[in-house]
């Protein structure tokens, strides 16, 4: 059913009219959400979409190129601080500032990509972890970045205030549309990159870097490029995250966050575009919403409160958050290495041939 007859079929955005129909329906739903969803969910969706952008970018590196990064919170921080400071200190319009911050993050991604040429697996993980931690401490140390106190993001003006063309996004719903559009563009861009020569080179490096080099792929260029692209995505996501939050400090971008980002990609499914999107949505929802308010869920909440007060420490119920995330990770690795995307593929195949 996934047979491709020519190159055009492989690169086209919508594989069939069915896909096109559902994509349009999903778009309409996404654009209509602010008109009926409670405000709290809009804020949650903003965070979800920021994480989606980051996870899609991280997947370019981890899923497609086979490199690991435990330092993505660092790029995320560069994006957040870069965008806010460029706007605050240099009065650069938002659109330019966030792009510049993305490129600054990409530059740091390129730098981190250099040791990746010689490091693999756990060694690369440690190097990237060190990078993430260093960024957090460097930002915290310099008063220019607001020190450990953190900084207040400026008003999100998507116009050009210098030309008296201000358009300040104040509500979560307004920010939702901005983030949604950027997220869609970034997802389409990621999909297109993976269909080009660059994308195929990434996959070749993942499958065997020696074989890739033998067929003429320049490892230096493509490995660093994968890091730079991934970091660019994290930078853009960070730039948006700063405005969603309004105020942030260096500790916001800690090591745990880097690990959570990796969890999103692994749980969603490595090496696909839909996978990290699903992973980011699920993990963010679990971590930021469902598991936070689990005590108020009827029946289940009371049961968990009883279990935690009987068997756990004083802060027991809150530990359920980490326990559930850990169990999901273990479950995915053991039962469904392709992640949620793998589950989706199997469901799709089942219904394609139903009732036979």
């Amino acid at each position: 059913m996934d047979m491709k007859r020519d190159y055009f079929e492989d690169v086209q955005l919508f594989e069939s009219n069915v896909v096109l129909f559902w994509s349009v329906a999903l778009m309409l739903l996404l654009f209509a959400i602010p008109f009926f969803a409670p405000k709290y969910y809009i804020f949650l969706l903003n965070i979800v979409m920021v994480h989606v952008i980051l996870a899609v970018g991280l997947n370019v590196l981890v899923g497609y190129t086979g490199q690991i990064s435990l330092g993505h919170a660092g790029f995320f921080a560069i994006g957040a601080y870069g965008t806010a400071l460029l706007m605050l200190k240099l009065q650069i319009p938002f659109v330019v500032a966030i792009l510049l911050a993305g490129f600054i993050a990409a530059f740091f991604g390129f730098l981190l990509g250099l040791p990746a040429l010689r490091l693999e697996g756990p060694y690369l993980a440690v190097a990237s972890l060190g990078f993430g931690l260093a960024i957090m401490h460097v930002i915290g140390h310099w008063q220019f970045f607001g020190g450990r106190t953190g900084i207040q993001a400026p008003p999100l003006d998507i116009g050009i205030p210098q030309l008296n063309a201000s358009f300040i996004l104040q509500t979560d719903a307004q920010k939702y549309y901005l983030i949604l559009v950027i997220a869609i563009l970034m997802i389409i861009a990621a999909r297109n990159i993976m269909k080009t020569r660059v994308g195929r080179s990434f996959v070749a490096i993942r499958d065997s870097d020696i074989a890739a080099e033998v067929i003429g792929i320049n490892l230096t260029i493509y490995k660093t490029l994968a890091f730079a692209i991934s970091a660019f995505y994290a930078g853009i996501a960070g730039g948006l995250f700063g405005f969603v939050l309004g105020f942030f400090d260096p500790f916001t971008f800690n090591m745990i966050l880097s690990i959570i980002f990796l969890v999103m990609v692994v749980v969603g499914g490595l090496g696909s575009i839909a996978g990290p999107i699903m992973g980011a949505v699920l993990i963010t929802y679990l971590q930021y919403s469902l598991l936070k308010n689990v005590a108020e869920v009827p029946v289940v909440g009371d049961f968990l409160v009883t279990v935690s007060s009987r068997w756990f420490s004083v802060m027991g119920l809150e530990n359920i958050n980490s326990i559930v995330l850990g169990l999901i990770m273990i479950g995915i690795v053991i039962f469904e290495p392709l992640g949620m995307y793998g589950i989706w593929i199997r469901i799709k195949k089942y219904w394609m041939t139903w009732p036979f």
Binding site: F43, G140, G150, T171, Q174, L178, F247, F248
Partner: protein, 397 residues
């Protein structure tokens, strides 16, 4: 051309959606005829989980109030949310509480960055916030009509501790070890302000990063400066490393520390007993004090939260709710946010289990008073100076 037209229409549609997007709605009401909902956030998991008990303290206050029949017939319901010391999570849990549950007032609230991320949101939604569990100048200067603090400023505390060291302990050579952030720098400012009054200068002012593991060079500097007392505004781990390092050098000055390290049981344990003799500020009565309110809270904790360790910070969580409960009782049956704000603004010299609190519409920093305590054998509290206010407090001028 067709592509450009499509893009053009999309931009127009998007702009229209952004303009028409629903405007900000106020949160759900924080009370009804049966209950008043209050809430606190704090790190229950993650690296700062040790401070999580502050947010759980109000549970005991709610249990006490409810056992006494509630406030004018309304029960008190307290929500605790884990923000893992992460401002993104703080904002999310606060939004969930305000918009989904409906909260009348927040109490406590650990983490300065988390508080900064939500203070304007709470103000915009007209939600009261009493007794943040951090001391941050930006919370109250300029006055935020919905935010009332209880913890004294580190600057005031530092000034009073310096007064104690110079006037009571008669020490002339003072060293300062401060964390390189607003917490440490405000402490430094307070010490220098007081020393200036005595026309004295610190013999050593040494900054430290919270992540530093080796403090040998810093301790050597204090030793060579001949500092008789070292005042510190640092994290618990840094303080323990400082004490251990200096002892191994044979240098034992009088250590003086901020109220944030006032949990003697914890500090005694992690320092292997070296905390004995350390002088600290205190913003609440010590946990074992014989005092009608303290006895009541202690007994209630045994009854309603037997799993909790009765210590300074758990009690602080209860103490941070005292002015709010006082104001709610004063309001009477016709409860409203405005009425509660009016009563809070009328509080003068309110005495609970912390320092005397005074609020006016122009002043929401509740107190500038601390007590001075000394850690005795087996982590006991010895009072060495009663409640003292800072006559040099810059914000009162």
């Amino acid at each position: 051309m067709r592509f450009k037209t499509t893009v053009g229409w999309m931009v127009v549609a998007l702009a229209a959606a952004m303009i028409m997007a629903p405007a900000a709605l106020a949160g759900k009401p924080g009370f009804d005829d049966k209950e008043i909902r209050i809430a606190a956030w704090g790190p229950q998991t993650g690296p700062a989980a040790a401070w999580g008990n502050v947010a759980r303290g109000p549970n005991v206050m709610a249990a006490i109030v409810n056992a006494e029949g509630g406030i004018h017939g309304r029960k008190l319901k307290h929500f605790v949310r884990d923000d893992q010391y992460n401002p993104a999570q703080t904002k999310l849990v606060v939004k969930e509480l305000v918009e989904q549950q409906g909260i009348f007032s927040f109490v406590c609230g650990t983490s300065a960055a988390g508080g900064m991320a939500v203070k304007d949101y709470l103000k915009d939604n007209k939600v009261i916030w009493v007794g943040p569990a951090t001391s941050v100048e930006e919370y109250v200067f300029p006055v935020n009509p919905y935010l009332f603090t209880i913890m004294p400023l580190y600057e005031d505390e530092a000034s009073i501790l310096t007064k104690y060291v110079v006037e009571k302990l008669k020490m002339k050579k003072i060293g300062i070890l401060y964390q390189n952030d607003p917490y440490g720098k405000n402490g430094l400012k307070g010490v220098l302000q007081r020393l200036k009054k005595y026309r004295m200068k610190a013999v050593a002012e040494i900054p430290v990063e919270p992540t530093e593991q080796d403090l040998a060079s810093q301790m050597q500097k204090f030793k060579s400066s001949g500092a008789e007392a070292v005042l510190m505004w640092v994290a618990p781990k840094t303080a323990v490393i400082a004490l251990k390092t200096s002892k191994s050098m044979g240098y034992t000055p009088q250590w003086v520390s901020s109220m944030t390290l006032g949990d003697y049981e914890l500090m005694y344990k992690i320092s292997g007993g070296l905390w004995e003799g350390v002088v600290t500020g205190a913003f609440t009565l010590p946990p074992e004090t014989r005092h009608p309110l303290m006895d009541k809270y202690r007994e209630a904790t045994k009854k309603y939260a037997p799993e909790e360790r009765w210590g300074v910070f758990f009690h602080a969580g209860i103490m941070f709710t005292e002015p709010l409960i006082h104001a709610l009782k004063k309001v009477g049956k016709n409860l409203s946010t405005e009425a509660c704000l009016r009563e809070l603004n009328k509080i003068r010299n309110f005495k609970g289990t912390g320092g005397k609190i005074t609020y006016t519409p122009k002043r929401h920093q509740g107190t500038d008073s601390i007590m001075v305590m000394k850690c005795g054998p087996n982590a006991t509290y010895i009072k060495v100076m009663d409640w003292t206010s800072n006559e040099l407090a810059s914000w009162k001028k």
